[in-house]
């Protein structure tokens, strides 16, 4: 099983190589000094050498296929306004640099939090007069991966005070709430047992600094909310919808747990 997944990843990697030559961002490992000081660890540090190797080398990191998809879409005009992202935002390396570290964010106009996928889709519907992209579509995953890749290596820094505070509190409560027939909370696995093996898997802290991540098990890139759904389902609990308020609040709390970790998007995980 493991072997097949690895081969699959390597197949992707060869294709990826052709597509990403020239990007050459070099090697960025997502552990900044701020996070280190607080003892916070990225999932990267719990991964096997092989998985780390796939992530370290942009040429073999299969997640770069999604970065490329996003890059293509960036300058494609769509919708009734006849605009592309590029028409308003220009060079993503400049304009999107901060976006990847600061979401989810409180937004006055909606009176709640908004995450990065939702922000991108707001630009689609309001600014481009185009249809919102579906969650987990190659377009939304591609654009989210591309946008967040612009922040690679920068420390995660989300606002949890002021108007965000009550949503943050809800996210924290979610994290500590037992769920499902197995009756476990996120914290039982990712706080109390980080570093311990659960059957064949080493538990990490459940950080999201690498999302969207390329998961060998998925054979593709997936969103933070897809991961939350999986972790809910494995304890036999009913998951929430992608983009639900519950998951966006949880996402803010989980992002804050990883404050100071460098963005690794697209990270590679088992």
């Amino acid at each position: 099983m493991k072997m097949r997944q690895l081969l699959l990843a390597l197949t992707f990697a060869t294709t990826g190589t052709l597509a990403v030559t020239g990007l050459g961002l070099g090697l960025v490992i997502g552990q900044t000094t701020a996070a280190k000081a607080e003892g916070i660890r990225s999932g990267y540090s719990y991964a096997t050498k092989e998985t780390q190797g796939l992530q370290d080398d942009d040429m073999s990191n299969p997640g770069y296929l999604w970065v490329d998809t996003g890059e293509d879409l960036w300058s494609k005009a769509e919708g009734d306004a006849g605009k592309s992202c590029n028409d308003c935002h220009g060079d993503a390396a400049e304009s999107m640099k901060k976006a990847g570290v600061s979401y989810p964010k409180y937004k006055d106009d909606i009176g709640k939090l908004q995450n990065i996928e939702q922000r991108i889709n707001q630009c689609r519907t309001d600014n481009m007069k185009a249809k919102a992209w579906k969650w987990e579509s190659s377009q939304l995953l591609g654009m989210t991966t591309y946008v967040r890749n612009q922040s690679r290596g920068l420390p995660v820094s989300v606002a949890v005070d002021g108007p965000a505070a009550p949503f943050f509190a809800k996210g924290e409560a979610f994290f500590n709430q037992r769920r499902g027939l197995l009756d476990m909370a996120c914290k039982h696995c990712h706080e109390d047992n980080a570093g311990n093996k659960i059957r064949a898997n080493v538990l990490s802290e459940g950080q999201i600094n690498g999302f969207p991540v390329y998961r060998l098990k998925w054979g593709k890139v997936g969103s933070t909310h897809r991961r939350f759904r999986g972790c809910n389902k494995q304890v036999r609990a009913k998951p929430f919808k992608n983009g639900s308020d519950e998951y966006v609040n949880l996402e803010l709390y989980v992002a804050w747990r990883g404050r100071g970790l460098g963005v690794e998007t697209p990270a590679v995980r088992n």
Binding site: N196, K197, K233
Partner: protein, 150 residues
């Protein structure tokens, strides 16, 4: 934590009375005495061989997710809880029965699931409503296996 859980036990007994009309629904009632459940859940002696399988089967007990146990043919053993080797020298049968049935009765913050409880869950998936992870006889089989781990 050595409390007589009379109130809890009474509530369970009361609940079971109101459930007696529904054939095979829910878990059977049991009584917690000191730190254990002294009486068998089924009255039928457990089968240690079947219980060993419950311990490693991912679809039933999956104890190996968190515990090491002397089951060498299974490749992956977790390391979240203590090694089950020698567990029968550390605990009585009654104490082990309670730990399988509902370990939260001995440690309210434990990660270990209650293997014989069918209520009190949050956002339970539909297909598990009214079910416990293990059936009563599976608990007794598992217990017979644990009792061999001296």
């Amino acid at each position: 934590m050595k409390m007589h859980r009379l109130i809890g036990a009474a509530a369970i007994v009361a609940a079971s009375i109101s459930l007696t009309l529904v054939a095979n629904a829910g878990t059977v009632s049991y009584q917690i005495v000191d730190d254990g459940i002294p009486k068998s859940l089924t009255g039928t002696a457990g089968n240690a061989q079947a219980g060993r399988k419950v311990a490693y089967n991912r679809k039933t007990g999956n104890c190996l997710a968190c515990h090491k146990a002397p089951i060498p043919e299974q490749q992956f053993h977790g390391e979240i809880g203590p090694d089950l080797k020698g567990v029968a020298s550390r605990y009585s049968e009654a104490e082990l029965r309670l730990r399988i049935v509902d370990s939260k009765k001995t440690n309210s913050d434990t990660i270990m699931p209650a293997f014989y409880r069918d209520t009190g869950f949050t956002r339970l998936q539909k297909k598990w409503v009214g079910k416990s992870i293990l059936k009563a006889q599976e608990v007794e089989d598992l217990l017979a296996y644990l009792m061999t781990l001296k």
